[in-house]
Symmetry: C2
Subunit: 210 residues, 2 copies
Amino acid sequence: MKRQIPDATVARLPVYLRCLSQRAGEAVCSSTDLARTAGVNAAQVRKDLSFLEAQGVRGVGYDINELRLRIRRALGLTHDFPVVIVGAGNLGRALANYRGFTEWGFSIAAIVDTDARKVGSHISGTEVESMDLLEDVVGRRGIEIGIIAVPAGAAQRVGDRLAAAGIRSILNFAPTVITVPNVEVRRVDLSTELQILAYHLTGRADAKTT
Amino acid sequence: MKRQIPDATVARLPVYLRCLSQRAGEAVCSSTDLARTAGVNAAQVRKDLSFLEAQGVRGVGYDINELRLRIRRALGLTHDFPVVIVGAGNLGRALANYRGFTEWGFSIAAIVDTDARKVGSHISGTEVESMDLLEDVVGRRGIEIGIIAVPAGAAQRVGDRLAAAGIRSILNFAPTVITVPNVEVRRVDLSTELQILAYHLTGRADAKTT
DNA sequence: TAGATTGTTAATCGATTAACAATC
DNA sequence: TAGATTGTTAATCGATTAACAATC
C-alpha cells in the first residue's frame, strides 16, 4: 500500500501544507485558491490531492483541517523525528534557532561540533556536544535524520560517519556534492540556487533586447 | 539564440560545475565519471552538455577547464552579480559569511535590517544598513538579486519592496510562500526538505516490514 | 587497429494540464 | 434549480535513458 505518490507530488505537499497553515480563519479552500497561493495549476492541485484520497466536496472545496491531516499522514509526519545537526557554526546555529522545526514534528535531538570551545555551549536550548559522540548519540537517541552544516571539506567524512551510525536521511547544507550509498541525501545549496537565478536573469535580459 | 536549455538541465549545470571544481589535478573527465560524482545518468550528462555545444573528444572525454567555462557561459556567470541580503539575523549572517558567494561571481553589495542595533555593525566585511535604504541601495548599486532572510511574517512585504525597487530575482529563505508578480522567486525551505525526507523514511520503513 | 567514449536518436517514462461529466 | 467545484480522463508536453553509429 501507499508508496505510489509521485515524487513531484511529494515535493509539492509540504508547500500545500504551508499554504494551508497560513489560512487560519478559513474552514474550506478550493483547488483554485490553493493553486494560486502555492503557485501551481489548479488541476495539478486536484490531481495531487487525489493521491491522498482527499475528500473534497464538489461545489464547495476541501476542508482545511481535514486536508492538513491527510497531507501530514501521507508524508509520514505522524510521529516526531529526532534530528542531529552536525556543525555549530553560523549555519548550524541558524538552523537550530529555526523554530519551524518543532512546528512540523521535527526535534533537535543533538548538535555536535569538533570545536572544543563550542562544546558545552547552548543553542536554542540544546547543548552542543563533541563530534566524538556522534555515533553514540545517534544510536542512543534513535536519530534517523542528519543535517550537515560543516565546511565543504568535512562534509563527505561527516556523511560517511552518519551513514555508519545508522542515519538513513541526510540534508546536506555544505556546498559540496557528497556520495553516501543507501542513504537519501538532499542537498541545499545557496550557490546552486543563485546560479539558476543568474541563468534566468540573463535569459530575460536577452528577451528584452530582442 | 540561446534560451533553449531545458529547466531540468539548467538545474543540473551548477552541480556539474561544482563537481568539476572538485577535480583540480585532472585535465579530462568522461561523462561516466561526471555522472557518478553528480549522481545522475551518464546519458543525461552527455545530453545536458550537448545543449552547451560542449565539445567532448570521442574516446577521451571532456576538457575540464573548457567545460567549466562553457557551463559558466551558459548560465550567464560571465559577469559579477551584486546581491542584497535582507535580514541580518542568524540566517542572514550565515549567508553573508558564506565565502562561496564570490567564488561563483556573486558579491554582497548590501545587507539591510530593520533593527537599529544591528545597523552599522559589520558582517564579513559588509556594513549592515538600515532597511529604509533598501530601494535606494538597490537602485544605486544596480542590484538584481535579493535574498530574503527575515522572519516569515515580514517576507511578503520585503518581496513587494524588492520588486518595487526593481529586483528581478529573489531567493526566499523565509519559511513562507510569497507571491511577487514578474519576479523569479526561488524558495529554500528547511522544513520542506525535512518533510520530503520524512516521506522517504516512512516509505522505506514500510518496505522493510513488507 | 582496438578500446574508449562521445553525440544523437528513438523509445519510454513521468508530469502537466485542459476539459468536462459528476455532484454538492 | 443554478452555480460552483471536484475527480478523472485523455491529450500533451517534457525529461530520462538505452542503445549504437561515429570517431578519437
